[in-house]
Amino acid sequence: MTFWHYLGRKLFQLALTTLIIVTLIFFLFRVMPGDPVKTIIDPQMPPEARAQLRAQFGLDKPPVVQYLIFLKNAARGNWGVSFFQQEPVFRIIMRKLPNTLLLFTSAVVLAYLIGVPIGKRIAWKRGTPTEAVVTFVGIFFYTTFLPWLALIMIWLFAYKGIPLPWGGVLQLPLRGMMTPEIWSDPAASALTKGLDVAVHLLLPLFVLVLIFFARFMLLMRSSMLDTLEEDYIVTARAKGLEDRVIMNRHAARNAMLPVVTAMALSLAFSLNGGVLTEKVFSWPGLGTELIDAVMKNDYPLAQAAFIFLAVIVLVANLIADILYIFLDPRIGFES
């Protein structure tokens, strides 16, 4: 089997899974109790007007017909029009998707950069008080209730603020991802705007990184502990190699593999945290959009938001699968 065969098979699986999810979600939304026509609460609206509106949304057709129409259109990139924003769903999703990816990937990458080295080191120092404390802190953040942690962070950093050594209080912004005064000013430079987004990103990122970091660290620690018992590490030690070399070159490299797999498997789980974080910080991403759309009974938008969230997980899994091939020398393809 060549790499391309492998990739082809994986892509086919991805497409199939997406189709299953799409179908599942579509019918789940059809049994939803809401009727978008009913959310227009207006005592002046007579019965005939409601019926007319329902026809306008295409809701008067049987579900199976609606499903087929939906599939046909979705394949063409036409995901329908949001009931409430009256804008093509696909355009809304494409506007929100980068925000979610920005928050989520930067959190994963940062957490990885911090979590893996720490996990590596504390595994090396097992049995010491440092290891016990760091492990405990890791477990604490891992099991902590995220929205609550986020609220505490808002309280500390955005509400109370941090007193600065040179006077004044540093208060982080806590809403959305931009300052209207800056973005609506024609004179503001791209750099100012970029920094403005970065400042807004700080708090949600911090919370997500805390949670993800704990996960990476714990995974790396236990994987490293497994590896350290392997024969070749014992041999390397017997040969008198420097500790740092054994830790970094021999142990860590092999300990990484299970971490990558485990991370891929838990991506869906991490996304849960991402959705809650977005909601608490009003971060304009897919998660916030999903929750708002569900609350407003805006099916076309809600189902698309969910499907895209699921596809993010699927694609990330695929990337992890491919990474795994390059990381693990034991897997090879005939060329």
């Binding site: 299953i20 109790p33 477990i139 604490f140 309280w155 869906a268 849960n272 959705v275 809650l276």
Partner: protein, 300 residues
Amino acid sequence: MAREFTRRLGRVRRELTGVWRVFRRNKLAVVGLYILLFFLALAVASPFYAAREPMYEPLTGYDPEILGSHPPSLKHPLGTDFLGRDILGQIMKGSQLAFAVGIIAALTSVVIGTLIGLISGYFGGLVDSVLMRMTDIVLTLPSIPLLIIIGAAIGKQSIWIIVVIIGALGWPSTARVVRSQTLSLKKRPFVDAARVAGSGHSRVVLHHIAPNVLPLAFLYMTFLVTWAILTEAGLSFIGLGDSSQVSWGMMLQWCFTSGHTFRAWYWILPPGLSISLLTLAFYLIGRGLDEVVNPRLQER
């Protein structure tokens, strides 16, 4: 009959003592156990605390002398919420609910997961591929978004329905582990022996394989409890909870929607801390039990 029972009881006791000896060595797990016992005590004490006076009834009781949210006092050790309801009483009631939520959801997951794992591992072939593909799909579904949609689809926000759905989504991890365990057990001589002796599939699975995978399933249950409590609280927090119940997530939601988030530390800290601590406890205990079930880990 009675003797058989005593004999079995003795064996169970010996086994438990053995488990405790290993478990005890993990300091963190013991800490977890203490936290768990603390919340258990709160849960048990809840009805007694509430029964003293009508105003301590967690959902509808209120202190007639207080209007609005008040900081801690002798009468209300953790203060009151905006209706004048006692917060400590709500925390205690919430503890009851958290145990119920966690255990029911985890039990649902473990039962489904174990069944699917056993069937998949034992029969193999097409059944196995279909079930495992299904497991993979459920595993890649982001559960909170899915629960948000399902929660909205149900409309009626009953905590028990939410709990069962949480349970119904949590089975894949258990299913995978049970399956691989079943695969290795299937090849053991005693299973072959049983089959040669003429036992049917169901008998082999239920009497020979299932008892051996149960400890592992039980271990996963402790982790699932953590997950279930966090998920239920998360749903309540964003507004998809059951407002006719006093759960910790709901307390946070009340605090949030009534405009007290940054104004009443005595109201917002306890529920969040309780959720975090109880899930921490279950997780730590799970790790401790992990060492019992997987002896190789004991050295750490």
